[in-house]
Amino acid sequence: MSGLKVEVHQEAPIPLAAEFYCAPGEVLALVGPSGSGKTTILRTIAGLYRPRKGRVSVDHEVWLDTDAGIMVPPHRRAAGIVFQSYALFPHMTAIGNVGAALEHLPASHRKKRAAEILQMVNLRGLEDRRPADLSGGQQQRVAVARALARQPKALLLDEPFSAVDSATRERLYQELASMRRRLSMPVVLVTHDLTEALMLADNLCLLHHGRSLQYGRPLDVLERPASVEAARLVGQRNIFSATVVEQRPEFGFTILDWEGHRLETAAAPVFRSGDSVAWLVPPSKVLLHRRDRPSRGTSENPVSGVIAQHILLGDTAVSVLHVDGRDDRRITFQVPAHVAERNRLGVGEKASVSLLASAIHLMKPEPEEQRTLNDRNC
């Protein structure tokens, strides 16, 4: 199978248990909080870290196989890597940095080729500048050019957007998005920013404490996390417990009892009637009922309560609704600021919302000890 295939397992010194595949031309995001092992996995692919047990292969070429005693040294792996700090050689010019990755070419060709690659990343005219004389965005482009210079079989990006200001970051996102159409190798992007993964990646591998919790399309992982743990990691806040009371797969729905509220959800046939489940609804899938003109959608899982928190974030308003006035049933939802204003949303105001049935996602309930731990951490 062509593409990048990675398996890593070890208990110590850093616990790792991850397996994923990244097809040629695909961008796979390794997402997780600090200390989740994502950079270690990236370093494993590049050969800069040797796990106790693991296998890394690219296009039938085995770079690491601890069982077979294979460990190809990093300089023999065609892995282009863009480091978080870019790690440009400070004593070399931009063209020197790119040329450093082309030392397999005869000296006469090297400079020409390096100049071509710099031109490709729009750095023409800055060839003779040293990294200290380049802006953050320009440095990142030199780092990308250097990583691509060897025509790598895998491109590895270690939080490449974290060291630049937000305006530059937006521009670099666009550049990566347009550049990736021209890249034919697997691209692994390490990030702790889920939004970045949503924008740039085809697939996402969610990591926590070195373990891969879920692999899938970014939006699926975000909206349909495999477990409560994964849901919390991707920042889902509306997570609750309920009981399945009715299964109607023939009509495509499942009915839950959420502490006296009857909620209709998309069919989740893996659960049986009477099962305890955890459920979530993304804040963007909670619809506010208009005060002036109730619409047809208000019949879909309606709940009412009192607004307990209301914050304006630019042109978006984020509100927390205490359903039935109870502070253990907090539903966070967001609406455009003008909608919030029109509906007179504010702390202490009453409000009704609908929880979109198709967006309610069911998961196995959290193990008791984990739940206690989370409650304590909260």
């Binding site: 040294p73 700090s85 790690a87 050689f89």
Partner: protein, 222 residues
């Protein structure tokens, strides 16, 4: 003015730097990048000459180089002359007491190179020796230069150890520092003054050059 003593001191300094350069680079790099049990002890051992009184240090070297010791007798058997009170003995002593001046700045020089830069070298396809040549050496260069200058200047000025191990043999072990002491003892303050001024001048020029070069390199790599 004792030109022979000055020439001997310069030769001693040059040879010390020449021999200590590779030793300092290898040991400094090893201490910078390798963790091993007893590393703290090894570092303390390297720094020991910094705090040991020169006469004490010289005394131990004198015992170590004497014909009663395995090193001294082996040297005598090989070369036919004793190690103490010879230029070679003096050079060996100079190498040992300059170890901290050579190794510590180089160790700091290598430590100052971020790990990611060496990793970047590897991911650029550079084998370890090329990373050393293309990345580590140029970036550790200020440390290497400082080490060389400190060793050279320290050799020129060392007195206690030289007197203990080398004595005061003109053309063989009488360095300029010993010659100055010798002249003062003979109430020839004019010669002592001239020689001190020359030593001061050489030291001032080398240290100024080092700072200037380091700054220039700092600008280049900053």
């Amino acid at each position: 003015m004792d030109w022979i003593a000055l020439w001997l001191s310069l030769r001693l300094g040059a040879f010390t730097v020449l021999f200590l350069l590779p030793v300092g680079i290898i040991a400094g790099r090893f201490l910078a990048y390798t963790n091993f049990p007893g590393k703290g002890f090894a570092e303390a051992l390297v720094a020991l000459p910094l705090v040991l009184p020169p006469t004490v240090f010289g005394y131990y070297l004198l015992v170590l180089f004497g014909t009663a010791s395995p090193i001294g007798s082996a040297w005598q058997a090989l070369s036919g002359k004793p190690l103490v009170f010879s230029f070679e003995g003096l050079l060996l002593a100079s190498l040992v007491f300059n170890l901290p001046f050579a190794i510590l700045p180089m160790q700091r020089g290598f430590e100052s190179i971020p790990r990611e830069l060496r990793d970047a070298g590897a991911s650029c396809g550079m084998p370890p020796w090329r990373i050393f040549r293309r990345v580590e050496l140029p970036l550790a260069w200020p440390g290497i230069l400082t080490a060389s200058v400190l060793s050279f200047a320290h050799t020129l000025g060392e007195f206690g150890v030289v007197l203990m191990v080398g004595g005061n043999i003109p053309g063989e072990t009488k360095t300029i520092a010993v010659a100055i002491y010798d002249r003062v003892q003979a109430f020839d303050t004019a010669s002592a003054g001239r020689m001190s001024a020359i030593l001061l001048l050489i030291s001032a020029v080398t240290i100024t050059l080092t700072f200037a070069l380091s700054r220039q390199m700092g600008r280049r790599s900053g």
